[in-house]
Structures are given as C-alpha cells and as structure tokens.
C-alpha cells in the first residue's frame, strides 16, 4: 500500500515537471504552430543558471547552500531562459512561421549550439547543485510513507506557475490579446493587436517556464549539458496526447503520462515502461486523433 502511494507520489512529481516543460511547448504550438526542439536546452539553461549563481555566491560568501541564493535563482532561471527564448524568437523563428517543419530543424540547430556552449563553459561532466537545508529530509505521513520535501517543493512550484499562467492568460490584458491571436490571428491583427509582440512574449514565456523546470530539476539529481534530452521527448508525447496546444488538455496529459511512466517503470523496467506508454499513446490517437481535449472549430 505504502509502496503504491509512494509510486503515485513520484508519478505526480514527474508529472509536474513534465507539465511545466509541456506547457511552454503547448503555448507556442497553440499560438504559432511551431514546435521548439531546443526546448530541452532551455531546461538546461535554467538548471545551469542555478548552478552558476550558487558558484558565484560560494566564491563571494563561501556559503554554498545559501537559502537566499536558491530563492533568487528561481526567478532568475525564468528570466535567463526567457530572455534567450526571446532572442531565438526574434532572431530566427519569426522568419519561419509559414514553415513549421523548418522551424523544427532550425531549433535543433539552436539546441546543438546551446548544448555545446554549456559543455564549453561548464565542462562535459555532470555537476551537482546543493539544496538549501530546509529542502532536505522528508515529510513523514505514516511509518512507511515518507514524502521527500524536495519533490513536494517542486509540485508546489509548479502549482504556483500554473496559477500565474492562469492569471496571465485569463486575467491580464496581455493574456487576452494572446488568446485572441490564438483564436483568429488575422482578425486580432486587424483589430490592432500586435501579433509580433504577442508571439515574442508567448515564446519567451514558454522558454521561461522550461527554465523554471530546469531549476526544479536541480533538486532531483545532477545536471549536465544534455539534461533536457531526458525529458523533452516525454514532454512532446504530453503535447501530442493533450491536443492542439490546449492548456487543460496539456495538464491532463501530463498527469496521465507522468503517472503511467512511473507505474509501468515500477511494474516492469524503465525501457519497457517507455515502450508501453508510447504504444498506448499511438493507440489512443486512433480513437481520438486530436488528443484529449479538442478545440471546437467553427
């Protein structure tokens, strides 16, 4: 019983990371029909931001596991990844909006470039971020069931992000413009919405969310230049399962994939688990080709 509860909890924690990654992908896909294959590298950027800040703090104060550094690192990872995302959108992706498959290839190039950059700056071996003291240890629910605080913190971080995204999309005027462009680009443009600005901001927002996911991942294990590639394919599967860039569908799909992955992995092996999930998604698409949540067309 406790074992299954722990599996479920681990599944939830994986789901929340996947969700943060997939939301960024789903946003830019829903808005601009492009998929950013360098998204995994934005995760890596966020993770290395935390590491770099910690190294800098250690050089200055000598305190490696400072709480202040870690709390500062959270928004900073969002800002760094978001800023790079903004640059990539402005310098590359906006030229390719009519050609989604080409965007795919061009962003692969960005990804290879960023990975090599990280390897040149931080070295190829993995590095470890030291978590602040209040994130170590576990929350003991019963005798056999101890939930790691780190994973609880990640889930909380993701919940805050979703709340923030909800506020942005449904309560702010910037978000209203974004939804307008998503629904009908030409009409929104003719009513005076700057679609260029919306595209750029949304892409940066999605990249920033990936950066936050990277920040969360530093708590789970060591980080390296190819950190993103471990998670990115699962995130794509979430986007495919969730449906055409829809936020509710993405949330549901992330929950399903994260939990299925963990449960299958526990029941069989990691590899067989992945194969099973992939097969199930392909079969599911036979039944509902547009994913879990369908956009209602006019």
């Amino acid at each position: 019983m406790e074992v299954w509860a722990l599996q479920l909890f681990n599944g939830l924690s994986l789901s929340s990371i996947l969700l943060l990654i997939a939301l960024g992908l789903a946003l830019s896909f829903g808005l601009m029909n492009v998929i950013n294959l360098a998204h995994g590298e934005f995760i890596m950027l966020g993770a290395y931001t935390v590491y770099a800040l910690q190294q800098a703090a250690m050089a200055l104060t000598g305190d490696v596991s400072s709480s202040v550094t870690f709390i500062m690192a959270i928004p900073l990872s969002f800002v760094v990844a978001g800023a790079v995302g903004m640059l990539v959108e402005a310098g590359l992706i906006r030229f390719l909006y009519q050609r989604p498959l080409d965007t795919l290839l061009a962003t692969v190039g960005v990804g290879i470039f960023l990975q090599q950059l990280a390897r040149s700056i931080f070295g190829a071996p993995n590095v470890q971020v030291v978590a602040p003291w209040w994130l170590t240890g576990g929350l003991e629910l019963t005798d056999g069931l101890v939930l790691p605080i780190k994973r609880l913190f990640i889930i909380a971080l993701v919940l805050v992000c979703i709340a923030g995204l909800y506020w942005y999309m449904y309560r702010s005027s910037e978000g209203r413009r974004t939804r307008a462009v998503m629904q009908n680009r030409e009409m929104a443009a003719s009513l005076g919405v700057s679609t260029r600005r919306v595209d750029n901001l949304t892409f940066a927002l999605g990249s920033g969310l990936a950066g936050l996911a990277g920040c969360g991942l530093t708590l789970i294990g060591p980080i390296g230049p190819s950190l993103g590639t471990f998670y990115i394919v699962d995130a794509f599967i979430v986007v495919i399962l969730g449906g055409l860039g829809q936020i509710p569908g993405t949330i549901l799909a992330a929950l399903i994939i994260g939990i299925l992955n963990t449960v299958f992995e526990f029941g069989t092996t990691a590899v067989v688990g992945k194969v099973l999930v992939f097969a199930m998604v392909i079969l599911f698409l036979q039944w509902r080709p547009n994913g879990l949540v369908r956009v209602r067309g006019r």
Binding site: L92, P100, L105
Partner: protein, 377 residues
C-alpha cells in the same frame, strides 16, 4: 522503358549528363583514393542512400520523419546478425554467451540463412514503418505531430536496443565480424567489392526513385504534399499512399544500413538515436529537398565536413553543425540544388509581400477566400 524514354526526351543533356559524370567519378574513385579514403567514401554513399530514402517521404510526400535512424539501424542489425552468425557457424555469438544466453533465440536463429536475412534487411524496417505509418496516417496525423511521433520512435527503439543486451549486444551493438559469404570482410578486395556494390545500389535506388516520382503515383504524392484535402476529394486515400511511401522509404533506409555494416564493421544503438536521425534531415536540407541529386550531394558533403572537422576540432564541429541546421533552413531553404536553379532565399523573405500583391489582384473575393480558408483551418 517507355517511361524512361519519355523522361529523357528533351532533357537528355541537361539532366542525364551530370549524373553520368557523377557515376563515372564514383566508379573511378578506387583508382585515385587510398583504402582509408575509399572506405570513408563508401560509408558516405550508404548515407546518401539513407538521405534519398528520407527525401522520398519528406521532400516528395511532405512528411518529415525524425525516425529514419531506426530503419537504417534495423537493416544494419539484420545484416550484422547475419554476418555474426556466419562467423560463429550458426552457433551462439560471443555477446549472447556473455549475457548468459544458452541457445540462439528462435527469432534470431533464422538470420543465419542468407535467404532470410537479406530480404529482412528491407522487409523488417519497411514493416515497422508501414505499421506505424498506417496507424498514424489513418488518424490523419500530419506535419509537426508526425515528426514528433517518429522522434519518439527513435528514442524508444534506441533505448530498447540498449536495454536488450542479450539479443542486441546493448550499447556496444554488434561488431567483430570475420567473413561475409566466405570472404574476409576487411580484406581490401572485399571492401572494394562492397564499395562497387554500394555505388550500384545508390544508382539503382536513384533510378527507381526517379521513375517513381515522375510516375502517376509520384505526382499524386507531390499533390498530397501540397494540398492533401484536394487529393482526398479527388477520391484517393492519402493514408494508404503515405503508408506505402513511408514503408518504401523505411525499406530503402534499411538497405543503406545493411551496406553500412560490412564497410564500417559495427552497428550500434547510437546509429538509431535521436540526433543521428535528425542529422539525416540536415543532409537532405543542405543538398536540396524534393530533388533527387540534392540528398546525395548533401549527405556526402556534410559527412565529409564532419569527418574533416570532428577529428581535429570536435568543439568547432558541434557549433558548425548547429549553424548548419539554422543556415540550411533560414538562408538556403532550397539547398545546394536551389543555388543551381537560382532559387535564392530572397524570395522566401519577400513572400508575404507577393502574397498581398496576389490578393490585391484577386480583389475582394481573394481576400474573403483567404480569410475563410485560414479561419476554417
């Protein structure tokens, strides 16, 4: 034959002459190049076949597959298993013995027979591509979705092959071959023969594809790329056509893999991984997608640059590769072949302007049509 004649009419000099020159150069290469260089060229030519395979489904049918490494690998593994079992005389190969297997698994045993293994080089990847393709195309999954699903395929198959060490040799793959049909695999004579076989295979694949894309079905395929719904309304079933194209493309990639293994001496999961699969797309993009000579030129040039740069400057190679991906689509969308035909990238950047001009010429009806088609999308 009449199709061939029809093709060549009027274009004999312009379109066949460069090819004949190219073929002649490839056939003369062994007399000029050292054994080492020739081995490299042979490897690049198997990549050229692989690029042609991807180009069939991407350049002509419009579906970007990021899983072609898998089909290449399946063909390679079929060939590798055949050679391995020939070396052991049909007994248990070393890597299976080390992993604790005691006898040949039933699904691997038939690979010791050439009549089984050699057709499997084509059939196995074609069946995987056809099966996945049918399910995916039937539910009208296209574009970016298809690319992502095939990318997931290449991740999953490569980790599956790494995990199943007793059957696949794990991360190391299958290597240490001794003979092929009784000849020493790595003797210069055998390698030279393999090189010529590769050149001939490339020429045959090229000619077959040329016939196909100029045939009636080829034209439907191109029409499908440009406007799938219209083809559907005309009564064709795009799902079936795409499945056939994808399966054929997978099978051709398998042949490339099978030619790769005896020349390079190893097949491993790294040939099927995500990055390898995406690199194939860059060869095609650099050469020029939707052309037949382009992928061949692209595969040879990019890989020559890779072996030149990555040996001495691995860091620079990675940056160069990243830049190549970006440059190939941003600045030269039509690739090297596009340069020959004068389709420079300028047109790409000015396209929105020409679009507006077209709409103005069509008057208000054109504007309305444009609006309705985009909002009903």
């Amino acid at each position: 034959m009449s199709a061939l004649l029809q093709l060549s009419r009027g274009t004999l000099v312009t379109s066949w002459a460069p090819l004949i020159v190219m073929l002649a150069l490839l056939l003369l290469a062994p007399f000029v190049l050292s054994d080492f260089r020739l081995g490299l060229l042979g490897k690049f030519l198997t990549f050229a076949i692989l690029a042609l395979a991807l180009n069939l489904i991407w350049g002509y049918a419009g579906m970007l597959s990021l899983g072609h490494g898998v089909f290449f690998g399946l063909g390679g593994y079929a060939m590798g298993m055949f050679m391995k079992l020939e070396g052991t005389g049909g007994k248990l190969p070393d890597f299976m013995f080390w992993s604790g297997l005691e006898e040949l698994p039933f699904f691997i045993a038939p690979f010791k027979y050439a009549w089984f293994a050699l057709p499997m080089v084509f059939i196995l990847p074609a069946a995987v591509a056809g099966g996945l393709g049918y399910l995916v195309f039937r539910s009208r999954i296209t574009g970016v979705y298809f690319a992502l699903i095939t990318q997931a395929l290449s991740l999953i198959v490569s980790i599956l092959f790494i995990g199943q060490q007793p059957y696949t040799g794990g991360t190391n793959g299958i290597t240490n071959y001794s003979t092929l049909f009784g000849y020493q695999v790595f003797s210069p004579g055998t390698q030279l023969t393999l090189y010529f076989i590769t050149v001939i295979a490339l020429a045959v694949v090229y000619l077959v594809l040329r016939l196909v894309v100029n045939s009636r079905s080829g034209r439907i395929m191109i029409a499908m790329r440009d406007d799938e719904n219209r083809v559907r309304f005309m009564g064709y079933d795009p799902a079936i056509l795409k499945t056939i194209a994808f399966a054929a493309s997978g099978g051709i990639a398998g042949i490339a893999g099978a030619l790769f293994v005896p020349q390079v001496g190893i097949i491993s999961p790294s040939s099927m991984g995500i990055l390898q699969s995406i690199e194939i797309a860059v060869w095609v993009a650099v050469g020029g997608r939707g052309t037949l000579a382009g992928p061949i030129i692209g595969a040879v040039l990019v890989n020559a640059a890779k072996s030149g740069l990555s040996e001495s400057f691995p860091v620079i190679w990675q940056f160069f590769l990243g830049g190549l991906f970006i440059g190939a689509v941003l600045l030269f969308p039509a690739g090297i072949m596009g340069l020959f035909r004068g389709e420079l990238s300028r047109e790409r950047f000015t396209r929105p302007l020409t679009r507006i001009r077209e709409l103005k010429q069509q008057g208000i009806g054109g504007v309305v049509r444009q609006w309705t088609t985009t909002s009903f999308r």
